[in-house]
């Protein structure tokens, strides 16, 4: 059969769609895709934390097509609007292709040799005043290289990932409840639950493929119930069976109210609680460990959270609170809770996470498929890299802690570095790190050189004037930025390093459901762009050449020395030789040795090559195969639960296999609306753009669909102020002002007294206005609540 190119592309598209129809109808596949000219390979999507797999079509060293991967368990062949355009992220017209150094105020092209030398000499001059700020988009090997370079090489813990801004409260919630991070459940819960509760989680826009996976059950005749709790109506709301609109911050009260009713009705799962749980509350100064409390004290503490009181605090009618409690009271139902930034970016983020876990434990909705509290991540490897590898300032690989002498010794042993190399004191958390960098040296700003990889803090940090833009004019501060496109961060950079992106390099991610994923390099990066991991290795080697003693191990070998299969050393720090062996594989195999400590066991690299990812713990079976785990702590699936235990929290903080049910009170937000600033301001994301829009704003169909930021407002609030749809308004908080168009009854609909602005638009930096107050335990900032005011911008006078 002769096909012209157009016919071929049309039939390819039809074949992919037909394969999905067959899969949905559970029929045998009938139409294999025509093969010609395009080479297809698997990769996880570059964007969010869902971890969809795509098939990447490559022709003439260029990505030309994207298909949902029908073999992927996560997305089962489907993608969202961002996912099927992900290939275009590589081809924006302004890709950074050459290193640039700021000379006389202007970024000027330089060679890679000079760039690495400049950076290395900055570090060598003051290693203790150097920090790396990386990302939940850094790959697992990249994160591991950063951790080893800093902690094992420089003896410093000044490393933070941007995941501090999005997932830190989920981490502290998991740690203080179960003693170990990350969800017990997985996406399979969405297929098995009778009730899905979305706690401030606009899943239709933020995790559309997961939402589609759940909603699709309705088209099969199933009737799973969807309960949405939110502070505004979104694209998720029309699908909800019950919508509970609550006042910002009052999620704490609602969770307590539901727990109170379960106890008042005698409908909590007494047997589950008796067997598997203890009770806990905070110490006077909030802490991860807290202090024990009795069941009776727990019950007393909850007594004030009557439906009437919770309704008063939250604005949710008492009947709706009772409805939610009646669902949790039923043991015949399976209930899955999900949440994301609504809980996490919260000045009481740790507590609200704790309360949600506690509600599931108290009601026994835990440990069966479909019965689980599961946090969702926003970045593709916030879990795999930031949380598991440990690029946070207080963590070592595999869940170990900087402050624990045994953990440091074990790490030094694996890295073969001298005892005492790893510093015992954690570095600065993100907000403090940037404050120290942006404060003049003579006023206590003791960080002088920052290296940013794979993130855009110039747009994503809160209170940008204080935490980022204050760097401008500080002559002794030096900002190194590895990026793929010019951004709000490169704008203040002193040295810009062009980075390879996604399938221009090898990589590994870890998604929201503990799934570790792998892909190979498929196309060359443009110009002189290079891999982030190579940059770390090259810096380390240059420091070795300059005489830094930390870049050698105990045997005098380079910290990142690699040998090929023949036993010959490969100079992987030298770019032409970087791909002479698979550096990702080498780094991952070393990192994998850390993974068993917290029972997050990983399989060998080559097992991930064969699959669309595996959920840890992954353990080898007697027949040599590797088995993943869907449901942690549950007998029958989790290999580390003792036979007969049923459920076993084997990392219990109280060392007795029990999880902790926390009490935490409702507390007011740190900044609330008042006469001068009468509105709540909430910020967030939109379907078409991913985070700060650095990639998606270069993709014409996405940028065309959502070209600029806006402020959502209730129509009655607008009418009171004489404002109309599309009016340009000045949005002001105590930290600054941004001018942007008003959108009434648009994508989302906030209630009266509330505003919403997305943060993807680099031209309208909403984070110049956000608060920057942090959770006392997780140190994660609150982007969802501050006080604001709006006024019409006077039109220009007619000429």
């Amino acid at each position: 059969m002769n096909l012209d190119r157009r016919d071929f592309l049309r039939l390819s598209a039809l074949a992919a769609a037909t394969a999905m129809v067959d899969r949905r109808a559970e029929a045998a596949p009938t139409s294999p895709a025509p093969a010609a000219g395009i080479r297809w390979q698997k990769a996880p999507c570059r964007f969010c934390g869902t971890g969809c797999h795509v098939q990447v079509g490559v022709q003439n060293e260029k990505v030309v097509a994207i298909q949902g991967d029908p073999e992927a368990e996560v997305n089962k062949g489907l993608l969202c609007v961002k996912g099927y355009h992900v290939g275009l992220a590589l081809y924006g017209q302004d890709r950074l292709t050459q290193p640039q150094l700021r000379k006389n105020g202007k970024l000027t092209p330089i060679s890679w040799e000079e760039a690495i030398d400049v950076a290395a000499r900055r570090i060598l001059a003051a290693p203790d005043k150097f920090a790396i700020y990386s990302s939940g988009q850094s790959t697992i090997p990249e994160g591991y290289a950063i951790s080893k370079f800093l902690r094992g090489g420089l003896g410093s813990n000044q490393t933070e990932p941007n995941a501090r801004l999005c997932m830190a409260s989920a981490v502290t919630g998991f740690l203080s409840t179960y003693g170990v991070d990350e969800p017990a459940g997985c996406y399979d819960d969405l297929d098995h639950c009778d009730v899905l509760v979305l706690w401030g989680n606009n899943m239709a826009e933020m995790h559309p493929v997961l939402f589609s996976r759940f909603i699709d059950r309705r088209s099969r005749g199933e009737k799973p119930l969807l309960i949405e709790l939110a502070t505004r109506r979104t694209r998720t709301t029309p699908f909800a069976d019950h919508f509970l609109l609550f006042k910002p911050q009052s999620d704490l009260a609602i969770l307590n109210g539901v727990a109170h009713l379960l106890l008042a009705w005698g409908k909590h799962d007494a047997a589950f609680v008796e067997k598997y749980c203890s009770f806990r509350r905070d110490t006077e100064k909030p802490s991860l460990a807290g202090q024990p409390m009795s069941f009776d004290d727990y019950k007393k503490a909850l007594a004030e959270y009557t439906p009437a009181r919770v309704s008063e605090l939250s604005g949710v009618p008492a009947e709706q609170i009772e409805l939610l409690a009646r669902l949790f009271a039923r043991r015949d139902l399976r209930i899955t809770s999900t949440w994301c930034m609504g809980f996490n970016q919260h000045t009481r983020g740790t507590n609200v996470n704790r309360l949600c876990h506690g509600l599931h434990l108290l009601s026994g909705h835990f440990g069966r498929p479909g019965d689980a509290p599961t946090s969702l991540t926003g970045q593709p490897s916030a879990c795999g890299t930031a949380r598991e590898v440990g690029t946070l300032c207080h963590t070592l690989p595999g869940g170990r802690l900087v402050e624990n002498a045994e953990h440091r010794a074990e790490t030094e042993q694996i890295w073969n570095v001298p005892a005492g190399r790893i510093a015992p004191k954690p570095g600065y958390h993100t907000a403090l790190m940037w404050e120290k960098f942006c404060t003049p040296t003579d006023k206590g700003g003791d960080l002088r050189t920052m290296f940013v990889q794979a993130t855009n803090p110039g747009q994503s940090l809160p209170n940008l004037h204080k935490l980022f833009r204050a760097k401008k004019g500080l002559e002794d501060k030096f900002l190194i930025v590895s990026e793929v496109y010019p951004s709000a961060t490169t704008e203040l950079a002193d040295l810009v390093l062009p980075a390879a992106l996604w399938v221009e390099k090898n990589g590994m991610f870890g998604n929201s459901e503990r799934r570790t994923q792998q892909w190979f390099r498929m196309v060359p990066p443009p110009g002189q762009a290079r891999d982030d991991a190579w940059m770390i290795l090259a810096l380390a080697h240059r420091l070795l050449e300059l005489g830094h003693p930390g870049m050698k191990d105990r045997d005098g070998r380079f910290l990142f020395a690699q040998k090929n299969e023949a036993g010959a050393e490969v100079p992987v720090w030298d770019w032409p030789h970087y791909y002479d062996l698979n550096v990702d594989r080498a780094l991952f195999e070393e990192y994998r040795r850390f993974s068993a400590y917290k029972h997050k066991n990983l399989a060998p690299y080559d097992e991930y090559v064969k699959t669309r990812g595996l959920r840890w713990p992954v353990v080898q079976q007697p027949d040599g195969s590797w088995r993943e785990t869907k449901f942690r702590f549950a007998e029958g699936d989790d290999p580390f639960v003792k036979k007969g235990a049923g459920v076993q929290f084997y990392h219990s903080t109280t060392k007795n296999d029990r999880a902790q049910i926390w009490f935490a009170p409702y507390e007011k937000a740190t900044e609330e609306p008042d006469q001068e600033f009468p509105f709540w301001l909430c910020t967030g994301r939109v379907l078409e753009h991913w985070h700060t829009g650095t990639m998606t704003r270069r993709i014409a169909p996405l940028q065309g669909a959502m070209p600029s930021a806006y402020v959502e407002m209730h129509r009655d609030d607008a009418a009171e102020r004489g404002l109309r749809n599309g009016d340009l308004v000045a949005l002001r908080t105590r930290r600054g002002e941004v001018r942007l168009p008003l959108w009434i009854d648009g994508r989302g609909q906030p209630p009266r007294g509330s505003l919403f602005v997305p943060f993807f638009d680099e031209r309208l930096l909403i984070n110049e206005l956000t608060l920057g107050d942090i959770d006392p335990i997780s140190k994660e900032p609150d982007y969802k609540k501050c006080a604001a005011t709006v006024a019409r911008v006077a039109p220009n006078p007619q000429p």
Partner: protein, 90 residues
């Protein structure tokens, strides 16, 4: 040109679903593939991203179509309608 493979979930009302399929069959950008139960395969051929979105919206608005899932996209990079200009451009 942009070519997309789409998975349509049709309405459970057969009459509505059939009416939607008849509309689809008349549309010049649409090639219909096989239908199984409530799921219909479609290939969509349009000039660019803007047309693709318009077609997507039209499909979603058809009374016999409940959901539209995109399965594959073959694309060529397009220039942006307006250049990007950072707020704080140096």
């Amino acid at each position: 040109m942009t070519f997309s493979g789409l998975l349509l979930t049709l309405n459970s009302d057969d009459q509505l679903a059939e009416a939607a399929l008849a509309e689809l069959a008349r549309h010049p950008a649409v090639t219909l593939g096989p239908r199984r139960e409530r799921w219909q395969a479609v290939a969509l051929e349009v000039a660019d991203g803007a047309d693709s979105r318009a077609a997507h919206d039209w499909l979603l608005a058809l009374p016999g179509v409940d959901y539209v899932d995109v399965v594959s996209v073959h694309f060529e990079p397009e220039p942006l309608a307006a250049p990007l200009a950072p707020a704080h451009a140096a």
